[in-house]
C-alpha cells in the first residue's frame, strides 16, 4: 500500500453519468483498486483500475452519489491523494488456454487490464459485455482491440444479443477453461451458477479502510470470514457463499 499524490490528466464523460478518469503520478503500482481521498468527504472512494501504463492509472466510474459527483466536476490538473496497491485482482495464471471474461455495466472496466494480461501470456480471450442499452456501452472498442472475440448483450436489445450476459453466452457457447466475472452481484451469482468449471468473481462491499485492517468489509465464505478489500475483491467461485 502506498499513499501518494496524483493529478488528473483526463476526466471525460464516456457514457451517461459515466466518466473515464486518468491519473498521472507514481510509476506503475500494483493493486486491483485505488482508494481516492475527495476533499470534503470523510471516507475514500474505492475504484477499480481499468488500465495502467507509463505512470498513468485509468479508472472508469459512474456518478451515483455526492462523492462521485464531486469527482466528476474536477478538472484537469487537480491533485488527488490516492492509496494504491490495494486488493488482490484476477489471477491470469489460473487460466490454462482459453479465458472467458464476463462483465456487466461498471464491472466491465476492471476486466480490461485482465484481458491485456491474459493476451500477454498468449491466452485466447473471449469477452462478454452486458449493458442496459446502446448508449451505456463502454470500452467495446478497447476490448475488441485486445480480445479474440467480444460479445455484447443489451437488456433492450439495441445492440448485440437482447437480454443478459448469460443469454449471449448461451447463444454463442464460447469455449473456455476458466472464467472471470465482474458486475452487479446478482449478475455474478447467476454467471457463477450457469457456467460450469472454475472461475473467479470480483465483489463489492462498503469499505472503511480499504486496506485490510478495519474488518468493515467482511463476508462469510466457505473458508470462513474474508475481507473483500484485502483477501479480495476477487474470490474464487468455489469459495463464495453468495
Amino acid at each position: 500500500m502506498i499513499k501518494s499524490r496524483y493529478h488528473i490528466s483526463e476526466n471525460v464523460l464516456i457514457a451517461p453519468k459515466t466518466y473515464q478518469l486518468v491519473l498521472a503520478g507514481e510509476a506503475d503500482v500494483e493493486g486491483e483498486f485505488v482508494d481516492i481521498a475527495l476533499p470534503g468527504f470523510y471516507l475514500r472512494r474505492p475504484l477499480s483500475v481499468c488500465d495502467r501504463e507509463d505512470g498513468k492509472l485509468t479508472v472508469v466510474y459512474r456518478v451515483v452519489g455526492e462523492g462521485t459527483k464531486a469527482l466528476s466536476e474536477m478538472t484537469e490538473g487537480t491533485e488527488l491523494e490516492v492509496l494504491t496497491g490495494l486488493g488482490n485482482g484476477f489471477d491470469p495464471e489460473a487460466c490454462r488456454e482459453e479465458a472467458l471474461l464476463v462483465g456487466g455495466g461498471l464491472g466491465v472496466p476492471p476486466l480490461y487490464l485482465l484481458a491485456k494480461e491474459l493476451k500477454a501470456r498468449g491466452k485466447k480471450v473471449t469477452a462478454v459485455l452486458g449493458f442496459n442499452k446502446a448508449e451505456e456501452i463502454i470500452l467495446a472498442d478497447a476490448f475488441k482491440a485486445v480480445c479474440d472475440e467480444v460479445l455484447i448483450s443489451t437488456v433492450d436489445g439495441s445492440v448485440g444479443v437482447k437480454g443478459f450476459v448469460t443469454d449471449a453466452i448461451a447463444a454463442a457457447h464460447p469455449a473456455f477453461d476458466y472464467f472471470y466475472t465482474c458486475g452487479p452481484m446478482i449478475m455474478m451469482k447467476v454467471v457463477c451458477a450457469a457456467l460450469e468449471g472454475p472461475g473467479e468473481a470480483s465483489l463489492e462491499e462498503r469499505m472503511g479502510c480499504g486496506a485490510g485492517f478495519c474488518y468493515g468489509c467482511s463476508i462469510q465464505t466457505k473458508n470462513g470470514p474474508r475481507r473483500v478489500c484485502k483477501d479480495g475483491p476477487v474470490f474464487k467461485k468455489e469459495e463464495l457463499l453468495w
Binding site: M1, K3, A37, F41, Y42, L43, R44, L83, E205, R206, M207, G208, C209, A211, G212, F213, C214, Y215, G216, C217, S218, I219, Q220, P225, K230
Partner: protein, 303 residues
Amino acid sequence: MVKDLSVGLCGLTLKNPVIPASGTFGFGLELAKDMDLNVLGGISLKGTTREARYGNPTPRIAECPGGMINSVGLQNPGINVLVNEKVPALRKVYDGCIIANISGFSLDEYRECCAKADVCEGIDIIEVNISCPNVHNGGMAFGTSAESAAEVTRTVRAVCRKPVFIKLSPNVTDIVSIARACEDAGADGVTLVNTFLGMRIDIHRRQPVIANKMGGFSGQAIFPIALRMVYQVAHACRIPVMGCGGVASAADVIEMMMAGATAVQVGAENLRNPFACPEIAAALPDLMEELNINTLQEIIGTV
C-alpha cells in the same frame, strides 16, 4: 532543542503518546509491511471475545459528515488466537506498548479473557471495553451504569496483575460518576471514549445504511465531546486517562493532553489515512517547538 515525547503510564514508559485505537488498526500485523510500527507509542489491538465472532452483517460502514458509523460487531478470532498467535507475532516486530482490548457478554467471559491476557507475555496493558454499542445485550449494558461498570472492573481486577484500563462509553448522562466507580473498583486507568450510537438512512432506498440499523459513530466530528469528557474525568479522578475520540492531528493530541490525557488514541482517522498515527507522531516535535513545549509529560492536564 531535542523534544521529549515520552510519557509515563502506570509504571510503563511510552516512547510517545500516540496509540491507534482498538478496532482501527487490526492486530497491528496487518500494517507491519506498510510502516515502521516502532514509531508508535502503543497499539490497542482489535477487540477480542472468548469465542471467535464473525460480527454483524454488511454494510457495516456508513459515511457521515466529519465521521463514520461502524457496525463491525466485534469480529475477532477469539482470545486463544489472540494470546497464542497474534500477540507473539506482533511482539516479534514491535517493541512498544501492546494493549489487549477485551469485550464480553458476561462477567464470566470478561474474567476468563482477561485472565488469559494477563498471562500472555507480550501484553502490557489490558483495556476492557464495556462500551461497544454494536452487540445486543452486550457491552452497552455494562458501560451505562456505574454499578455494572464497577462490577466488571472488580471482576477483571481480581484476575489481573497487569494494568487494567476500563474503556467507557460516551452514551451516558454522567461520565464522571462511571469513571469514579471504576477507579474505586480498582481500575488503573480509563480510556475514553468509545463510539456514539448513531444512524444514517439511505433516502433513495428508504432503509438504514447499516445492515444492523445503528452503529458506532466516531471520527473528527466527536472530538469536542470526547475532549470535554476527558477534561471532566481527568479532573475528577486520580487514575490516568487515555483520551480517544476524533483525534486527527498532532494539535488534537496536544489538546487532549492539555485536557488531561496521558496518552491519546487515534481511531477512525486511521481508516481514512492508514498512515495517520506515524504522521501524527512525526509532526509532534515541530508543533512542540512552536508551542514552547519541551517534554510532553509536562503538559498533561495543564488546562
